[in-house]
Every structure is written in structure tokens, then in C-alpha cells.
């Protein structure tokens, strides 16, 4: 097993007619894509984006739809990493991601094309990249290579004539397990997003280990919650390829309406989910289980932040036969590196361990002030550190931050390792890892990684804002921004929405005459947290 396409090809050959991905249109009808269609369409589109020996990444703009994995696999057939970008992000943010990628080729679905063309005219008026637009509904693929985006330079029907077997084969012959598969952008404290580059072999190792722990089978039906441009979506995309199971892409609006969400899961007979913690806690706070029960869900994995046991217990009581797994890990270690199978009904005051390393992962603690000193004693705090096959290749086009976070060290146990320092503090208790918070100001908010520094950095760039301090209230799951200056709260909120993704914009913005200070002149964060 060297390439993720081997999974797709074996499954498409075995059960070509089975539906792999299902999504829902605005009008509420299903869009289905079979394994055979994923295989054929991605080779058609893939053939058109192979260009000489260009292996630079491809930016992918697409909507939350069953056809999006086809665009990803098209890039894989061209042996080019795909970098999914959410068209709903603010222009300035997309600009920063594109500045990092500087792609030669961009793949866009028809639904995202108008917004994409507008964005390019606004922020890259002179940029000439090859833009390939796919209209799945009409079965047309078009190319644009001038910056007006008015008329395509080429237009073809999506059919088998596009498949260039020789070209695909020669690209495949050159592909290696360590080649980049995808690039996923996450929050960076300086305001520049980091593009985490992950290889085929890392992804394969993770999917194999996860599938074993969750007991995934062909009959499983996954309910996808994660945005498709986000790391957690890799499970919902690749588990179907490996096992021949199906994924249902749940419309985002259902997560605000627990009855609609549960009815959807029951209608689609969803058996397994891998969701962010907040996707499980938010429906509870809106009264989930009170009026509609769940009939088919049996395998539940959660990750992204600390699961409150009071909420987990409600889930356990409502689904007594279900498997619950707590998972931990950063994007830089291919989604997750440790797991804990919850083997008892939890007590509300309990803190769940993050468990032990997945197969193929090397996870250990190092001393907080010395990253080469391994801690083996129990109950001693250290930095959670990861090594092994599932480490990312690095941050795309960013050697400084790659060298800072991914380092080669001669460890105190005599081994030499390439390690990733998570910035998370942990201990080992009874052989299980436990999570004890961050070394820096990164937080997890509604399943997303947020650098408080990045929010402040954006707020500081707004006109008439003098000083800012962003804090996170964990118990209320709310981001709060304090600021001084003449800008109104409304102005500041509006400006932030143009700079950073919506989930990073604080829902409470508080204006102060001046921010409280410590004797050394730094902002007194503790005082603000106690307000």
C-alpha cells in the first residue's frame, strides 16, 4: 500500500455502483456520487491538470458537496497536493492562503466560480494562473487562463475521451509514498496561516489505525460534520475508499436544529461519526434527545477539544450500546495521535484521558524546558511530543516555522528522532496520556484551532483601535475581545469579519478606556479574565 488511490481503485472495481458520497442541495434533494464515478471523474479531471513535470500544489475551491472529493482525487491522480480553500472565508484570509500557496493551477466547482472570479479581480488583478472549472451538473470542464475570467480558453465535455491512460500511468510510476497528498491551512499566531503538508504514507497509517480502533466495516455509514477543507474531513473522505462504506455530508444548518439533525441521521441510517466535541455538545444545549432519539448511530469518535463528561454522560445514557472514543492530536500529526476508548459510564466530574498512541505513532513527553529530555515517570508534566511516520512533511513554503516546530533531536534515551512539539502539556497516568492545557495562547473554539494572538493581531490592524486583548471563557465557549481606542464595537466587529474567519470573531467585544497593566507594562490578562 503506497498510494491512497489503491483504495479507491480496488473499491471502484469491486462495487462501482455503490454510492460513496451523498450531499443535499439547497432545495433538499440528494446528490449522490458512486465509487465508479469518483474513479472515472477524477481520472478525467486529473488528466487535464497534469502539466509537464509540475508537481506544485493545486488550490481547490468548492462547496460542501458530494462532488468535492472528486476534485481532491483529481489532484491525487496528477500527483499534486490539493489545498482545499473555503470560499466563505473573508477575502483577506483567502488572499493570505493563496500568497502562501502561489498555485499554478486552481480547481473550482461551478458553484464557487463567480465568487472566485470576483475575488481574483479584487485582489489578484494581474495574476495569471490556470483556472479549471468543473460543472458536475452539466458535465463540462472549462479552462480560463486570462485574468478577466469572462470566456473560457477551452471547454470540454466530461467524458472518457479526457482520460489519458499513458499520462496517468507515467505520473503514477513516479509517485512515492512520501509525496505530499494535501495541504491544510490552520491558524498561525502571526496572522499568516500555516499550510500543513501531509504525505500519502502518513494518511494511510492514520486511516488504518483509526479504522481498527473504531471497528469500521463496509456496512458503515458516516455522518460528515467537518468542513471539507478541514483536517477532520479526511476520515469521511478516505474511510469510504478503504472500506467501501458511504459518507453523508450533513448540511451545516442541521447543527442548529437538533431534531432536524437526528432525523437526518436516522433517515440516512448513519452508524458512525467522527465529530468535533462541540458538534456533540451544541445539540445537547439545544435540547437534543428530548423529542427525537437516535436509532442507528453506534460508533462515535470525538476530538478537537476537551469533552465535558457531563455532556458525554448524556450521550452514553441515550446510546448505551454505542462505542465512544476520545481522540487527541494536532493537524501536524495527521489529525490525531492518541485515542482513548471510553470503557465505562463516565462520572460528571471525571476528566477523560487522551489515551495511548495509535499504531504507527510515537508519542511521548519531553521536559517543558528541554525538548530532547524524555520523561518516563508517571504524573510528571511535560510537553506532548510526536514522532514517526504520521508527522507532517512540514509547513508549505515556510522553512522558518517548519524548522522551529519540526526538529531533529538526539534524545536522552539515545535515539535520534524527527519530532513535532505540540505545545500541549500532558502527563502519563496509569499508562494513559492526559491533557493539561497549552504552553502558549492557542485555544480550541467550536472545534477550530484559534491563536488568540492572531485575533489580536487582526484587531490591532483596525483603524482607531489602540490596544487589544483577547481571552477565551471555556465554560461559556466564548471569545471575548477587550480593546481601547475610538473605534465603535460595530466598526471593529465588521472589520474583523473581513480579516479572519467567522469562528474567530469574538461574539463579545468590550471597549475600555485603557487596558489594565502589570507593573512591567504588559496587559494584565488575569485581571481581564476575572471580569
Amino acid at each position: 500500500m503506497e498510494n491512497v488511490l489503491e483504495w479507491l481503485e480496488a473499491t471502484a472495481k469491486r462495487i462501482p455502483e455503490k454510492v460513496a458520497f451523498t450531499s443535499e442541495t439547497e432545495e433538499g434533494s440528494d446528490v449522490e456520487v458512486t465509487f465508479g464515478e469518483v474513479y472515472n471523474l477524477s481520472r478525467m479531471i486529473g488528466s487535464t491538470i497534469i502539466k509537464d513535470n509540475d508537481t506544485t500544489p493545486v488550490g481547490v475551491f468548492s462547496k460542501r458537496a458530494a462532488t468535492t472529493p472528486v476534485l481532491f482525487m483529481a489532484c491525487v491522480y496528477a500527483n499534486r497536493a490539493y489545498a482545499p480553500i473555503d470560499m466563505a472565508l473573508p477575502e483577506a484570509r483567502i488572499g493570505k492562503i493563496l500568497d502562501n500557496l502561489m498555485p499554478n493551477v486552481i480547481l473550482v466547482d461551478k458553484e464557487s466560480f463567480d465568487s472566485f472570479a470576483k475575488l481574483c479581480k479584487d485582489i489578484y488583478p494581474d495574476k495569471k494562473w490556470d483556472v479549471v472549472v468543473v460543472d458536475f451538473e452539466k458535465g463540462i470542464i472549462s479552462k480560463y487562463n486570462d485574468s478577466s475570467y469572462e470566456s473560457p480558453s477551452a471547454e470540454n465535455k466530461l467524458n472518457e475521451d479526457l482520460i489519458d491512460e499513458n499520462l496517468l500511468q507515467s505520473v503514477r510510476n513516479n509517485a512515492k509514498p512520501g509525496d505530499a497528498l494535501y495541504i491544510i491551512h490552520t491558524s498561525g499566531s502571526s496572522g499568516r496561516p500555516k499550510g500543513v503538508v501531509t504525505s500519502h504514507e502518513s494518511l494511510i497509517n492514520y486511516i488504518d489505525s483509526y479504522g481498527d480502533v473504531m471497528g469500521i466495516e463496509e456496512s458503515d455509514r458516516f455522518g460528515n460534520q467537518s468542513p471539507l477543507d478541514y483536517i477532520a474531513a479526511i476520515r469521511d473522505i478516505y474511510l469510504p475508499f478503504k472500506y467501501g462504506a458511504s459518507s453523508y455530508i450533513i448540511p451545516k444548518k442541521y447543527f442548529m436544529d437538533p431534531n432536524a439533525l437526528f432525523t437526518y441521521l436516522n433517515d440516512k441510517k448513519v452508524t458512525a461519526v467522527g465529530w468535533s466535541v462541540s458538534a456533540l455538545t451544541v445539540p445537547l444545549s439545544l435540547g437534543a434527545f428530548e423529542e427525537v432519539k437516535l436509532d442507528t448511530l453506534r460508533k462515535i469518535c470525538f476530538s478537537g477539544s476537551v469533552m465535558p463528561c457531563s455532556a458525554l454522560r448524556v450521550w452514553q445514557e441515550n446510546l448505551p450500546d454505542a462505542l465512544f472514543v476520545n481522540q487527541y492530536g494536532p493537524t501536524e500529526a495527521t489529525a490525531s495521535c492518541t485515542y482513548y476508548v471510553v470503557n465505562h459510564i463516565v462520572d460528571e466530574s471525571e476528566v477523560l484521558p487522551i489515551g495511548k498512541a495509535y499504531d504507527g505513532y510515537d508519542v511521548f513527553l519531553t521536559e517543558l524546558d528541554c525538548d530532547s529530555k524524555v520523561i518516563t515517570d508517571e504524573d510528571v508534566e511535560g510537553q506532548i511530543t510526536v514522532s514517526g511516520v504520521s508527522l507532517a512533511i512540514g509547513y508549505y513554503n515556510d522553512p522558518d516555522r517548519t524548522n522551529e516546530n519540526f526538529v531533529v533531536r538526539e534524545m536522552s534515551d539515545g535515539t535520534t528522532k524527527r519530532i513535532y512539539k505540540t505545545g500541549d502539556i500532558g502527563t502519563i497516568h496509569n499508562g494513559m496520556f492526559e491533557f493539561h492545557g497549552r504552553m502558549d495562547r492557542q485555544i480550541k473554539h467550536m472545534g477550530h484551532r484559534v491563536e488568540l494572538d492572531e485575533v489580536e493581531c487582526a484587531a490591532n490592524s483596525v483603524e482607531n483601535v489602540t490596544e487589544t486583548c483577547c481571552i477565551y471563557k471555556k465554560e461559556k465557549e466564548s471569545l471575548i475581545l477587550f480593546y481601547s481606542g475610538d473605534a465603535t464595537r460595530r466598526d471593529l466587529s465588521l472589520a474583523l469579519r473581513e480579516l479572519i474567519p467567522g469562528f474567530m470573531v469574538p461574539r463579545k467585544i468590550i471597549q475600555l478606556d485603557k487596558l489594565p497593566k502589570l507593573p512591567n507594562g504588559k496587559i494584565d490578562i488575569k485581571e481581564l479574565e476575572e471580569r
Binding site: K252, D257, L286, V292, S493
Partner: protein
């Protein structure tokens, strides 16, 4: 009218960027996100001493300020 003003105040605290007086597609138009709804439900419940049930969480009840006023008034009477 008092209910309406209070609701607008709550909404503007959560999302100062939205023109609530004129929006009629807050949920269907993806203006409000799920964490906005969570904050909103908890604020409305506290402010008006009402219980918002899952069956009330349909888009029609949250698409506009007027719809929310209607929902709150119905729940207050219950």
C-alpha cells in the same frame, strides 16, 4: 415593542455586524451560525424566563427579529 428592543439588543451584542432590523433570512441565508444560535437561545431563555424547546428551533422562528418576537411572546404565555 419592549420585547423587540430587548431582542435586538441581545442580537447586536452577539453579532454587531448584522442589520437585524431589515434581515428576514437570518438562518436560511446563513447569516447566523450555530454558535450564534447557541448564545442567542441561552440569552433569550435567561432574559424572558422561557424554555426554548428543540421543536422551536426551526429556521422560521429565527429568520427575522419579528419572528423571534412572536416566538418569545408565545413562549412567555405558556
Amino acid at each position: 415593542m419592549e420585547t423587540k428592543e430587548t431582542i435586538i439588543e441581545i442580537l447586536e451584542e452577539i453579532r454587531p455586524d448584522v442589520d437585524f432590523e431589515n434581515e428576514t433570512s437570518l438562518v436560511d441565508g446563513n447569516v447566523l451560525e450555530s454558535f450564534d444560535i447557541v448564545s442567542l437561545v441561552s440569552e433569550l431563555s435567561d432574559e424572558f424566563d422561557i424554555t426554548i424547546r428543540p421543536k422551536d428551533l426551526v429556521p422560521e422562528n429565527f429568520n427575522s427579529v419579528d419572528a423571534m418576537v412572536k416566538l418569545v411572546n408565545t413562549l412567555v404565555e405558556e
